[in-house]
């Protein structure tokens, strides 16, 4: 894969096996701001893809485009073979802010996706309780957000994400607002979750270690306008452990990503 100005291209599989398919997508905001410039990639079922880049490189915009929250200027995005035109019920989202409803308990918040579709029955409640246990919140099911730390709230958001019960997960810097220690813990939770559900996940982050640790593939994006600078395969076996980050092979991938980021910055500065 090359660095530099040209957008890296992924071989587009035409056999319909992609879960998420982003084709030549462009997003230009009012006022001429070009946030996403001809980005293309695919995510296969069960794949975990990380997108890294510095702040303002359009990666969050890209995620929102895929989520159907904002409209494309040009190009095509499809999920499960269907074009994305509006927020989809077969996609679950998680953002940097947990956005829990302060008047509801952890389990009630986790149940929200089902409550909104009037399917919050006893079975759903059991499922929510299990998921809360999965993300390490045993004993806090009936606690209100005000009494939960930021990290704990994000875990509730994670459980809520899973309660949507779909296999396409989009996460936009979900752990950016918590401290490093909690972040590492939450990364492990996410790994556990991914393992268990075999979902296809797209994680946007500015933390390269996190990106490499969690993903099967890391996409490096350039600063505005957002283009793909590099795509890095992450071949480590699963289940992954935190100690992996200290290994040499891991560090090399991190360095490669950093190089990709630096070069694209320099190229932008020159050009």
């Amino acid at each position: 894969m090359t660095n530099g100005e040209h957008a890296a291209r992924e071989p587009i599989s035409h056999d319909g096996s992609s879960k998420i398919s982003v084709q030549d997508s462009v997003k230009e905001f009012e006022g001429g701001v070009l946030a996403v410039d001809h980005v293309s990639f695919e995510a296969r079922p069960g794949e975990f893809v990380s997108v890294v880049g510095p702040s303002g490189c359009g990666k969050s915009t890209l995620l929102r485009l895929i989520a159907g929250l904002i409209p494309l200027t040009a190009g095509r995005i499809s999920i499960n073979g269907r074009e994305v035109t509006e927020p989809r019920q077969d996609v679950a989202l998680m953002f940097q802010r947990p956005t829990l409803l302060p008047w509801q308990t952890a389990v009630q918040n986790a149940l929200l996706p089902r409550t909104l579709h009037r399917k919050a029955d006893a079975a759903a409640e059991r499922e929510a309780l299990e998921l809360l246990e999965l993300v390490g919140l045993s004993g806090f099911e009936h606690t209100y957000p005000r009494h939960l730390s930021g990290g704990m709230q994000q875990r509730v958001a994670l459980a809520r994400l899973l309660m949507v019960g779909v296999d396409v997960l989009l996460l936009d810097e979900p752990f950016a607002a918590v401290d490093q220690i909690t972040r590492e813990r939450l990364n492990l939770e996410l790994l556990k979750v991914h393992e268990r559900t075999a979902a296809t996940a797209l994680l946007v982050t500015h933390n390269i270690t996190e990106a490499v640790l969690l993903a099967d593939r890391v996409i490096v994006m350039t600063p505005r306008p957002g283009r793909i600078a590099d795509v890095i395969d992450v071949p480590f076996p699963r289940p992954r452990v935190q100690e992996l980050a200290a290994e040499r092979g891991f560090q090399e991938l991190v360095l490669r990503a950093q190089r990709g980021l630096r070069h694209s910055e320099e190229a932008r500065a020159d050009g």
């Binding site: 956005t99 409803l101 302060p102 008047w103 004993g139 009936h142 209100y144 009494h147 949507v164």
Partner: protein
Amino acid sequence: MARVAKRLWPPLLFLVLLLAVWELALALEWVTETILPHPKDIFVSFFDLLFSDIVWDDIAATLWESVAGFVLGAALGLALAIPSGLSPTMRQMLNPYAVALQVTPRIAIAPLIIAWVGFGYSSKIWVAAIIAFFPVYVNALTGILTVDEDAREMFRSLGASRGQTFLRLMVPGSLPVLFAGLKTAAGLSLVGAVVGEFISAQRGLGVLVQQFSSQLAISDAFAVILMLMVLGLLLYGVMEWLERATVFWLHDGRLAARTRRRAARARKKHARAGVTVPKQEEVRT
């Protein structure tokens, strides 16, 4: 009990200071007895009136006018705030009139009110309602307009309908701001009831104040004002209590209690089903 005492002594201390300054003002003749009686005289009048037959019908009348006016005004405020909040066109249509109503002197529209609802409690209730309307309207509107955008996006992403977003997000989210408006309106509705009584009434604390004042029974007049203050505090206190019960998520104590209750209920339910449940963590407040 000790906690109640702890909360009481600051206002009591302030009261003592106030009374001291008051007596000083009279002693130094900054103000004369004809305008401002001694505190002692006012307290004597206060209890004398309460134990007589004179004030109770009037207290009941003014209280009824205030409460009914408050409920009416608040209901109208909510009823107009909701469409205003949800539709910019409605907002542009209604806002100027809401403001105009607020600044119109009540005495100017009093004949209109009387022509419309007649003499009787209704005219006082409507004056109180008009005064109580604006804070509720403005606060409810603000609550709806300042909904958490991230939460709204989250609802959208989960496929919530507009109705669900309104009921499950906007309504609870607006409650804190709304209650601030309700508390303001509660006190104002008392003022409105008295203003209404000045305009036209057979009985009420406003009528009493005028009767006492015109015959120069000044201590009695001030005693009635004291009664009005007590009523005002009472109404405000009721609203505060209601707020704590409704907007429970802003009060640590209430939240912890609810957590405990729910956990206990869940344990009971699962005990019956024979399922073991992890122990609820104690919430540190």
